[in-house]
Each structure stands twice: as C-alpha cells, then as structure tokens.
Symmetry: C2
Subunit: 365 residues, 2 copies
C-alpha cells in the first residue's frame, strides 16, 4: 500500500496507497512543482492513510484547508470485507451521499482506508519567514490580525510560543532565540509566486508592527538554510520536552480571545505541583498545545488535571481534541463534549459499519 | 431561520440560520471586510442551508475550496425530530466521528439543516479581471496552466466559454464580446491584498500569453464597473439560453484533457437534431456546463441523449453531476456511476437516518 497510483499533473490530484509516508509523497511531488496540502512534525514517519483517518491538521491548515476539503476520494475496506470505491479524483462531484467523508477523522473505527486521492498544492516559488518577539499575548493578537490583513493570500503558517517554551528549548538543546528574550514569540511564514512582491509585503508588515509596538523585535529571512534554522526551534520543542520530566500534552482549540488564558489558569490551578506549564501552537487555527511538565508520572495528577481542564475548555467553547482525536485516552470525555443525540448517532454509525467491533476496537466509542 | 446568530470577527466564522439568502450574508459580511467562500449565479435567492445540503460549488471554489472544507458546524433536525448539535465554530476539532459531513451534499435526504457555521474569507483589497480570446481549446489549456503558475495564490476564478455560447448571448441580449470574435474565451479573475502587485502579476501574465500565442487578444480591467460589465456577459448566459429554444442543461466534471471533447462529440452524435450544442463553465475545477438547445421539448431526444452522454462521461472518468446533485432527474443513473457496494451503503444510511422516508422523498435513492 505504499505505491503512488497516479498523478494528474494538470489538476494536481495525487492518488496513492494509504501506506505512503507523507515526506516521501512530498519528495515525489516536488519534481512536478507540487506539494502535499498538509505538513506535520511527524512527516518522516506518518502514513497518509493515518493522516486521513485522524483528520490530521498541522501547520499548513491555515493556508490550504483541512482534509475534508482536500481529500477528493478514498478506497475503503468495510468491516465485512467489501471494498467501497469512492476513489474520485474530481474537484466537483455530487453523485449521491458523500460517503468518503464518513471515514475522514473516524480514527479507523468505521472502515479501513486503503487508497487516497488528494488535491495537492502548487509548490511556492518564494517562501519568507518572520520570527518576532512581543510583550504580551494581546500584542500577539494584534500582530496576528494585521498579518491576516496585510499578508492575506500569502500567509502559510502563523505559530506562537511562550517564553517558557523557549526557555525549555534553550535548556535542553543547543538552540537559542535568534532575537533575544521576549514574553511571546510569533513565527509567520509566507508562500507565494513572486519573491519581490512577497518580500515587499512582509517588510512592510514588519515595519508596521514595529511602528505600532505590536512587536518589540524580530528578523525576516528568505534563504532555505536560514528558514530551516528558525523552523528548527519550533520543531525541536517536542524533542526537548521529553528531557523536561514527564510531560502531559494537551491538544485543544480555543476561540482566539481565550487562546492563552488556559495556560495561565492551569498554572494557577496547579501551583507548585507542576514543574512547568507552557503553551505553543498553531495560532492561525486557534490550536494550542498546552503542556504540563511534572517531575514524574502521576495518575493522581492526571485525575486532578483532566476533568478540570476539559470542563474549562468546554466552558470556553473550545475543543478538547484539536488534531489528535479521541482514541483511547479521551474516550471517557466524549459524552462530556458531545450531546447524547450526537453520541447515539456515532454509536449507530459504528453499529451500521462495524457491528462486531473488529475495527480499531475500544477506541472513540 | 433567516437570522445571523453570531460572527467571530477575528476568526471570520459566521453562524446563521439555514434560511439566510447568500447575497444577504455577503452584504452583512462586507461591513467586516469579510465575504462568503462561495459565489453562485443564484446568490440573490438561494439559501445557505440549500447550498450546504447540495454541496454547491460556483465560481470561487478554485480559490476558497469546497463546503466540506469551509463548513465548520451544522445544526440538523433528524427525521425523528431529535436535534443534532454539530454547530462547531472551530477550525480544528477532532472529537468523535465527523457527523456534520454526512449531511453536506445529502440533498436533504438524511436530515434537515437548520443552522450553519462557516469559515468566511477576507474580502480582497484588489480584484482584477482578464477577458481573453484563444484560437482553440489546447491554447486555452496552455493559458490555464500558465495562470496557475504565474498568478498562483491570487487566482479566484477561471471560466471558459466557446464561441457558440457567445453567439447565443449576442443574439438574445444587447451584450457583445469586448474583444471581437474568437473560437474560445477565457475569463480570469484575481483577488489579492495589494493592487500594484496584482496588476503587475496579471500584466506580466497577459504579455507572456500573447508572446507565446496562447491567446490572440484580450483586455484586463480593475475598476468595479468595468469588471461587472465583463462578468455580466458570463452571468447572462443562463438568461439568454431560455430564449434559444428548449435547452437541456448538463452539469458534468471531466478531466481537463477531455473537458471540451464531449461538446464536439455530442454535436456529432446529434447532427441536425439539435439547434445548438455549446459549452461553458468553471474550467479551474473541470466543471463543464454542456447545453443542448432543441427547437422544442422532446422526451424522445432526452432518451436519446442522456444514456449516451452519461455513459461517455463515465468512460472519460468524469462526474455526471458536478454541482447540481442527483435529485429526481438523475436518480435512475446513480447505479450506473456508483458501485453496488456504494449504493447499498447509501441505502443503509438512508434507512438509519430516515427509516420512513419522510425527508425529501423520491430523491437521490
């Protein structure tokens, strides 16, 4: 299942086996000036079938949209062994119910995805990166709104991290902030078709943010090696927190006005029972990775944290699982965040498609 | 159901009743520098609930993606009267199966949509339009590929029409081609955040196409009144073909290399039994509106045309219904284009969600 089936070079639609590794697909597409519409830290090992089954997000979602939009077709093996051929490769097709979408984000519980057809994006001719420092989260939000306004169609990522995340990276890796130390950092990437235009837009944006004191300092870079070096800081977060004790990782979405509140709130709630509470994430999509580092594993602490955190996220109209699904660990919280009617329909769908519960058992529902 | 429930100005997510008219939503959003991610000829009368239920496409799909990607949440009344609350307003939410997508494009047969939450797009600061004439369809495809390459992220529509469509518009309305007569016409719209940059990109593209003889003539305009005048020609097609006899309208998607073949093939197949066979559509999405004008209604002609046309579209790996769904008229052809396994699952879904067939009866399945 790790073979490329077909690439339509004109439309940019790729059809491939579900076992293809995301990075390998990107390498293949690169020769045709195309790229995958998703990008994840795990790109070197994750399979496209798994990405689709979990409705994976990642840093490019803000620009290229989600997998419900980009996946055009699927081949799925049903629990009874029948093969469901929804391997459409057309951008517009309204012939009956949209069966394929039932399986996107179903975490392998409703069917087994064997092939994927996906709309790829043109590879940008120009990529620019800005690494910015700000005084507080309100200024970050102002810089965010200005970026959406000034950079519009060329924005391809807007990531944020707090100073505790940076401290941890600096403590556990040889890397350090390229601009000195600030309470918050904003990373903005642009991707476009004209380098001169994109540099002009980003330069103007940077100057505007400095003039309005939305940001206190920053750098903008365009060469691939400089960009990689800066992205590396973001990508090394995951590696460095494994050295920071036992880290509980929460993946939530929150309305932007409450995005960072939850970090401060959890810090207060936990007091000195935690080693470090920090946050970073895909600000452009409201997706926060809230991390709580403990000195060692403690089920008691988990029981202390999770019901409180998930209750608060629900109260703030957020999602307790932005990218990572329900799986095994959050199954008990599903009835807390979904209504009885919704959970009953999920059960009915499971019963219809997998009556003997042989697909990814004990997960989700 | 025609009320706006909430607009999150920062994220651009609109929540509204299903009975809101698309144009009214656009007018409302305009004050906040936002716009709907879909645009249709029927915008003045169509309801957003209907758009979602039929997974409507339109001219902006090439830029802003489809409704499976843009609709973040739905409230749906089930056939048994239960209210399904999937009214999520977050861009990333993976808490259980993605129930809302079951209802997008289900043509009202699985549930009754009562509220919609949708990701809106920033209103562009600059809109440019090019109206171009080409010698043949191969040149149109070359100009199309060049547009995707040169204009990249600012392309917001790529429409095509053949000379017979233009002849019909000129015959039945006071409008005429602004650039003289050519076998094919291409309309390219760009939307961006910087007028100078966008004009530079479009100007360079136009000169490049002329130098390579992809196009023979053309105009580019940027003022709202000039743009409207040109778009008017495209929008008046529907009105003018009602004056052209009894017009059979087919809405198909085809791989781009076969996009226009079907028009020539149907013309040959019908010979002098038709008055006019012509084609226009959303080239950027492979969506062709194939029109066959007859002197008068004839069921015999419909029986002669449809089985042949749909068989050919299927052979060419296209879709017999790009935007307009299955409904009543194409129901008999569903088993021709969907496998037995797929049709059986559609029936199972219908049985699960509407066992007494009270929702939009006799449609789709």
């Amino acid at each position: 299942m790790n073979k490329i089936v077909h690439l339509d070079e004109i439309s940019g639609v790729l059809t491939c086996g579900a076992g293809c590794v995301l990075q390998n697909l990107n390498d293949y597409l690169s020769e045709f000036d195309l790229m995958m519409p998703i990008d994840l830290g795990a790109k070197g090992s994750c399979h496209i079938g798994g990405n689709v089954a979990t409705n994976a997000g990642g840093i490019r979602l803000i620009r290229y949209g989600n997998l419900h939009g980009n996946v055009l077709g699927l081949e799925v093996v049903k629990a009874n062994g029948e093969v469901l051929d929804c391997l459409n490769t057309l951008k517009k097709d309204n012939t009956g119910f949209h069966l394929k979408n039932t399986f996107i984000g179903s975490e392998g519980c409703l069917g087994f995805i064997t092939k994927v057809a996906i709309q790829c994006a043109p590879k940008p001719k120009s990529i620019q990166l800005a690494f910015l420092g700000a005084q507080n989260f309100d200024k970050i939000l102002m810089a965010f709104r200005k970026a959406k306004h000034d950079l519009g169609e060329i924005v391809s990522a807007i990531e944020v991290m707090d100073h505790k995340t940076m401290e941890m990276v600096e403590q556990h890796t040889p890397m350090s902030s390229p601009i000195g130390h600030y309470p918050f950092y904003l990373i903005i990437e642009t991707s476009g078709s004209d380098e001169v235009h994109d540099q002009e837009k980003l330069g103007r944006y940077f100057e505007g943010c400095m003039a309005k004191h939305f940001i206190l300092n920053g750098v903008t870079v365009s060469s691939p090696s400089q960009r990689e070096k800066l992205w590396h800081i973001r990508e090394k977060i995951a590696e460095s927190f494994y050295k920071d004790g036992y880290v509980l990782m929460y993946d939530v979405t929150l309305p932007l006005e409450h995005y960072y509140d939850i970090v401060a709130e959890m810090e207060n709630y936990l007091g000195n029972r935690s080693h470090r509470v920090f946050g970073f994430g895909h600000l452009g999509d409201g997706n926060l990775h809230l991390q709580i580092s403990l000195k060692e594993f403690s089920q008691e602490m988990i029981n202390y944290i999770e019901p409180y955190l998930y209750k608060r996220v629900k109260e703030l109209k957020g999602s307790i699982s932005a990218e990572h699904g329900i799986g095994f660990l959050k199954k008990q919280y599903l009835p807390m965040v979904q209504s009885n009617v919704n959970v009953a329909l999920m059960r009915d769908m499971k019963k219809l498609l997998d009556p003997n519960c042989i697909l990814n058992p004990y997960k989700v529902i």
